[in-house]
């Protein structure tokens, strides 16, 4: 990002996120070591990691903003753009695929009227696909925020969608 972009006009990180990042730093011999956990704190609070937040994280960890940007864009879990309020991430790897993850994704697409990778126009739902989430014994499954929903069926998926406001 350019120098102009790198200027933070207004802080976007809530004070508790700044505090959480500052608490991570002493656990590493080099401040940059706190990068991954810091970005998780940011994403949990904001739902994604905006450029301004990257600049703030860079300042806290005493690195250049580009060093944060390259980490955010390297890791599939970090989002550099917003997703829906409820982001449904379906596992599509072999064990889940064998037990029907594609049918579940298609059902979800049909019900929400969006394609995988998109967000509903009201910003409520988005659908994504992930590689193996380490839940193969309880396939098929999806991840919603911090939780795994396992042994999914179309009925259970419908119940889950109904339960989200």
């Amino acid at each position: 990002m350019s120098a102009a972009e790198a200027r933070v006009l207004a802080p976007v990180l809530p004070p508790e996120v700044v505090a959480a990042i500052e608490a991570e730093i002493p656990n590493y011999p080099v401040k940059k070591g706190a990068m991954m956990n810091s970005l998780h704190h940011v994403q949990k609070a904001l739902g994604w990691i905006p450029r301004d937040a990257m600049v703030e994280v860079a300042a806290l960890l005493e690195v250049r903003p580009i060093e944060v940007l390259e980490v955010v864009t390297f890791y599939p879990m970090f989002r550099d753009r917003p997703v829906g309020r409820h982001h449904l991430e379906f596992c599509r790897n072999l064990s889940c695929a064998l037990l029907g993850s594609r049918q579940l994704i298609r059902h979800c697409e049909k019900r929400l009227g969006i394609r995988s990778g998109e967000t509903t126009s009201d910003g409520k739902f988005s659908i994504g696909e992930a590689e193996c989430l380490g839940s193969c014994g309880t396939a098929p499954m999806l991840m919603l925020e911090d939780h795994f929903h396992e042994n999914l069926t179309v009925e259970k998926l419908d119940q889950l969608l109904d339960s989200l406001d």
């Binding site: 656990n27 590493y28 011999p29 080099v30 940059k32 070591g33 706190a34 990068m35 991954m36 956990n37 970005l39 998780h40 960890l61 690195v63 060093e67 390259e70 980490v71 390297f74 890791y75 599939p76 879990m77 970090f78 599509r92 790897n93 072999l94 064990s95 695929a97 064998l98 037990l99 029907g100 594609r102 049918q103 992930a130 590689e131 193996c132 989430l133 380490g134 839940s135 193969c136 014994g137 309880t138 396939a139 991840m143 925020e145 911090d146 939780h147 795994f148």
Partner: protein, 426 residues
């Protein structure tokens, strides 16, 4: 009072609470060893046990520990690999969710043996609940004075820190993992230098998997002979096999190494779902070359599986029934490696993408026989040419499907369509 488990507590039980773990004698092995044994003695027991790494490569654990240089008073690290992400693998998660203190006790013992000053546990980002569980356990262990200042005896501190990954498979590779712990992109490093020479922050580091380290309390407590009493001569002990796919009872099974795939599939996992027949098995995570149904009397240990041209890998058994299209299975796996290639080596970056495109084309009925030669070339070009083993894994996986189920690829090409109408969709 129940005894401590080898790895996982009895079905349905959870030892995540410090009081429950300690009530069974948990942490006593580490406390006693630190008080009464020299670090080299702990290493010797682990070496004698014959424990081999459970993260996929199967390297002898005790031997790996001896690669650490003599202590020089500065920082030395353990990097604990909790990035479990080899497709089909979900065993370390069981330990993280149900017996996290055993991992922490294993780290205490390992750290003592190799004179480490700290351990960095790298846990995959999607394992949020396992992370919270482990973090709670670690906070409790700190509060009880088991970890931290003086944990390795008077004046000898040992810290444990947890770093969360964020969805990149490559960070399960040991040097990619270390890059990520340092707050960078997880692009693997060239070796040498090896981690024991220059690992985390260029300091001596030993990288071991969660399950590997969690075996250590049992080994030190019960002795090397008790560990060797089960398993095979070259790969002793138990392991947690994970079975998934078209079986009646998918899940994890803690068993002596060397049970046969037939026992795993039919006795433990209850056989094939919906009354179907078995068609193929991937015995050790998606990198392991696929096997046909007639091979399942093989023992699931590294040496026996090598004889049938596959690997034990992470002990993750993926079972496919007779509806399954092997080109679609190959496509699902090749898409994964393409997605996960970190991009720094040409053979991997281009090879995984090319492999994926060609297999996709064949599945769509648009392939030619020439495409099979292209795939053969790619499989050769990706193996053993790159900084890390991701391209090797992609090569073995695709090469396995091509070698074992070549007739199915040919049928797709000749019939110009996928002939398996009932198969799963990738």
């Amino acid at each position: 009072m129940s005894a401590l488990p080898w790895l996982l507590p009895e079905s349905g039980l959870d030892l995540s609470a410090l009081a429950d773990y300690r009530a069974r004698g948990g942490y006593q092995t580490a406390l006693d060893a630190i008080r009464t044994k020299k670090p080299e003695e702990v290493t010797a027991i682990v070496k004698d046990s014959g424990l081999r790494g459970r993260g996929g490569a199967g390297f002898p654990t005790g031997l790996k520990w001896t690669f650490m240089p003599p202590p020089d008073g500065k920082a030395r690290y353990i990097a604990c690999n909790a990035d479990e992400s080899e497709p089909g693998t979900f065993k370390d998660r069981q330990i993280l969710e149900r017996n996290p203190h055993q991992l922490i006790e294993g780290l205490l013992l390992m750290g003592y043996a190799i004179h480490a000053t700290a351990a960095h546990i790298y846990i995959r980002g999607e394992f949020a609940q396992p992370y919270y569980n482990l973090k709670r356990a670690l906070d409790d262990a700190y509060a009880a004075g088991l970890v931290g200042a003086g944990a390795h005896g008077e004046g000898r501190d040992f810290h444990i820190q947890i770093t969360r990954g964020a969805g990149a498979y490559i960070c399960g590779e040991e040097t990619g993992l270390m890059e990520s712990v340092e707050g960078k992109k997880g692009q693997p490093r060239k070796k040498p230098p090896f981690p024991a020479q220059a690992g985390l922050w260029a300091r001596p580091t030993t990288v071991n998997n969660v399950e590997t380290i969690s075996h250590v309390p049992f080994i030190v407590r019960e002795g090397a002979a008790a560990f060797r009493a089960v398993g095979t001569e070259k790969c002793p002990g138990k392991t947690i096999y994970g079975i998934s796919g078209h079986v009646v009872r998918p899940g994890t099974y803690e068993l002596p190494i060397g049970v046969t795939l037939r026992e795993l599939i039919y006795d433990y996992a209850g056989g094939i779902r919906n009354g179907r027949q078995l068609k193929a098995v991937i015995p050790g995570g998606s990198s392991a070359p696929v096997l046909t149904a007639d091979k399942i009397d093989v023992k699931a240990d590294p040496e026996s599986l090598r004889e049938v041209k596959s690997v034990l890998g992470t002990g993750a058994v993926i079972v496919m029934d007779d509806t399954t299209c092997m080109v679609r299975a190959a496509m699902t796996v090749s898409r994964f490696y393409r997605h996960e290639s970190c991009g720094q080596c040409t053979q991997c970056r281009e090879g995984t993408g090319w492999t994926d495109r060609v297999i996709k084309r064949i599945e769509a009925g648009e392939g030619t026989l020439k495409d099979l030669e292209v795939l053969d070339d790619l499989v050769r070009a990706m193996d053993g040419q790159t900084i890390c083993a991701l391209a090797d894994a992609a090569s073995w996986a695709a090469g396995g499907f091509l070698r074992v189920f070549r007739d199915e690829f040919v049928r797709h090409i000749e019939e110009k369509r996928c002939p398996f109408d009932e198969s799963f969709e990738p």
